[in-house]
């Protein structure tokens, strides 16, 4: 099997991730930060270590500003709904995932917020100046994906962050694609909030993710509950991360995420991105030479987080993806990938495209075989 669906979930996972989760389940999966007994303290320390590791990776200075969530979607919902108010205005891009677009559309419908959606070039890359031009007096939030989950295009988040900070508007980065290989830096980007999943580039398990919230950004809570702190207080405590971490945390998942992030730090995001870029470039170049293939991704790794989106002639992408799986054992993802607006931008609304997404455990051989498979399918379809 050749797994090229790393933009959905990275696979396989490093040994250290699987083993640490197993060890946690066996040895110390008590409630972190609740009871004061030995096992609970051990779980709490493991969670804190993971928190510190992730913060090191993202240049988050105060680990207490990072809340763990179940996935990036929860983090994005907390960020958006914690800040918007009736009649406010939000700026975002046409390359966002439904994790951003569906909450915004729901708030537009139910709360009357305004949304400006910035369109990009043929790859969806936006001009940061368009953000500046879209700012209104009531703009409450700017949201941008670090990199598109449809075609991998890397967005100019640092430039956007500079503009948002200049106007004093909170800036949320969705780092779902790119965290773990691109150099995420909340300080350099002026990111007031950063949402991320644990199970993609950070090499951790599904069921994990997080939201960084800069000191000074005050959110309303999406959920309230037991926090193990100020238990006698009738409302949610306002201290971070407790404020955003109601109920029992996913200790085994979080220690897995911590192990994954440690693995990424050890290898180095630069090394990972360089390696993935080489595979992405090879794949894009190889596919571009197959008759009938249309590419929607940049071949240049400095502008792509590791995704090659394509279609073959007028073949339904779902069919192509199905043949790749069934006849060649190659795992890709077809369709809209939960990002209909991005597909509309790229001209692939409707059926979408086939997405190949590389991970740091893919090899050059995987890529060569994938190109060969598409070539063979193209030939057999043409005849």
């Amino acid at each position: 099997m050749i797994y090229l669906d790393n933009a959905a979930t990275s696979f396989p996972k490093p040994d250290c991730v699987c083993l640490e989760m197993y060890r946690c389940m066996r040895e110390y999966c008590a409630n972190p930060g609740r009871g004061g007994h030995a096992l609970s303290l051990k779980a709490g320390m493991a969670v804190n270590r993971a928190r510190e590791t992730v913060c090191r990776l993202f240049n988050i200075r105060d680990p207490m500003r990072l809340a763990f969530t179940k996935n990036a979607t929860e983090a994005i919902n907390i960020a958006i709904k914690g800040l918007v108010f009736p009649g406010c205005h939000v700026i975002t891009t046409a390359m966002e995932h439904n994790a951003v677009m569906r909450p915004l559309r729901t708030l537009e419908r139910d709360m009357g917020i305004g949304i400006s959606i910035i369109k990009g070039n043929e790859f969806g890359e936006i001009d940061p100046f368009d953000v500046r031009r879209s700012i209104k007096k009531n703009t409450a939030l700017v949201i941008c994906t670090l990199s598109s989950n449809v075609n991998g295009i890397i967005m100019p988040v640092a430039e956007i962050g500079r503009t948002a900070r200049e106007y004093g508007i909170p800036f949320l980065v969705d780092a779902s694609q790119g965290a773990g290989s691109l150099p995420v830096d909340v300080e350099a980007w002026n990111a007031d909030m950063l949402a991320f999943p644990g199970h993609k580039g950070l090499m951790g398990p599904q069921g994990t993710g997080g939201l960084y919230v800069r000191e000074g950004i005050r959110l309303r809570t999406l959920m309230e509950g037991g926090t193990g702190s100020n238990s006698e207080y009738a409302f949610q405590p306002e201290i971070m991360p407790d404020m955003l971490e109601s109920g029992t945390l996913n200790t085994p998942g979080i220690v897995g995420l911590g192990a994954g992030a440690e693995y990424v730090i050890k290898i180095g995001t630069g090394t990972i991105h360089e390696y993935k870029s080489r595979l992405t470039g090879l794949l894009a170049e190889g596919l571009s030479q197959v008759p009938g293939v249309r590419l929607y991704s940049h071949a240049d790794g400095s502008r792509n987080s590791g995704i090659v989106a394509m279609n073959l002639a007028d073949m339904d992408p779902a069919k192509l993806s199905f043949i790749l799986d069934k006849d060649f054992g190659i795992c890709t993802r077809a369709g809209l990938q939960c990002s209909p607006a991005a597909h509309a931008s790229l001209g692939t609304a409707g059926l979408g495209s086939v997405r190949f997404s590389v991970g740091c455990f893919n090899t050059e051989n995987d890529v060569i075989l994938a190109v060969e498979a598409v070539e063979r399918i193209a030939r057999s379809t043409a005849t």
Copy 2:
């Protein structure tokens, strides 16, 4: 080490739970229900199997009505916030956890909902007739815990459910304590919604839980995002469980929960409850004979899900719990256990109590040693 903090998180976990999670992480942790490739389908089937297993345990007829959440707190927040409206009225009990009380108090403050809180007898057990007496024209929801996380008292949920159904008022049961040992039956209880954690009595990992929503109950969503379904639709799909499961699911956690629920079904909730009741009874009886001990739990297993709450003379419960851990290796939980209202009911507001909670892997010997430890502490304090 003697672990008597099972009401926080059950520990240890059955072998099958740890092994299946490890196998998932190693072999098939792709995105369930997203791509159509072999690994994604395998993950999707594993999630569905877990869904069916949990439904079997709770007598939920249609597995599609069960959404997985990260914990019971998320499930409770989804249920409450999905149903209440400005100016509505909610009935609940004085024994609820902060997972219920904090969302309600927040909505009372921000949305002007009214709350009736039913007080119980000296154990917190409420009279179902008080629910009937509290119903108003605008009552939108009745919420009751299956069993208190402070003293284990089992609530008359079937009777309350009958009343709620009679008046056509949605009824939410918080089964955080008791699921896995008490015979949870959403049909027999007329429970319109059931919230539960995966990591307590169901023997699964932290980071899991779920919400059952009866067909016909329409919730507003708390979060929106990618669901892998109707991706071109700008809003959250209204089909269950997708509607409540935005973003990537916790596949390894959910397969662990499924394995735990299968384990519970194999042993039988009746057998587990009987076994835990025997230990609870022994513990309560043993502790009651120690001079200076005050008990807040029923010794009778038919009225207790497996918790013994106590205090020793005027000793700070945090200190007693600390000594039990440090000098005897016994894990308990002191303080308010995130349920200040319940403690106020039992007369233990302020410092709370020490909670011993048994699990199905505890032995009679564990209980005897725990009683002996308290006896020794009592003697050394008295002299």
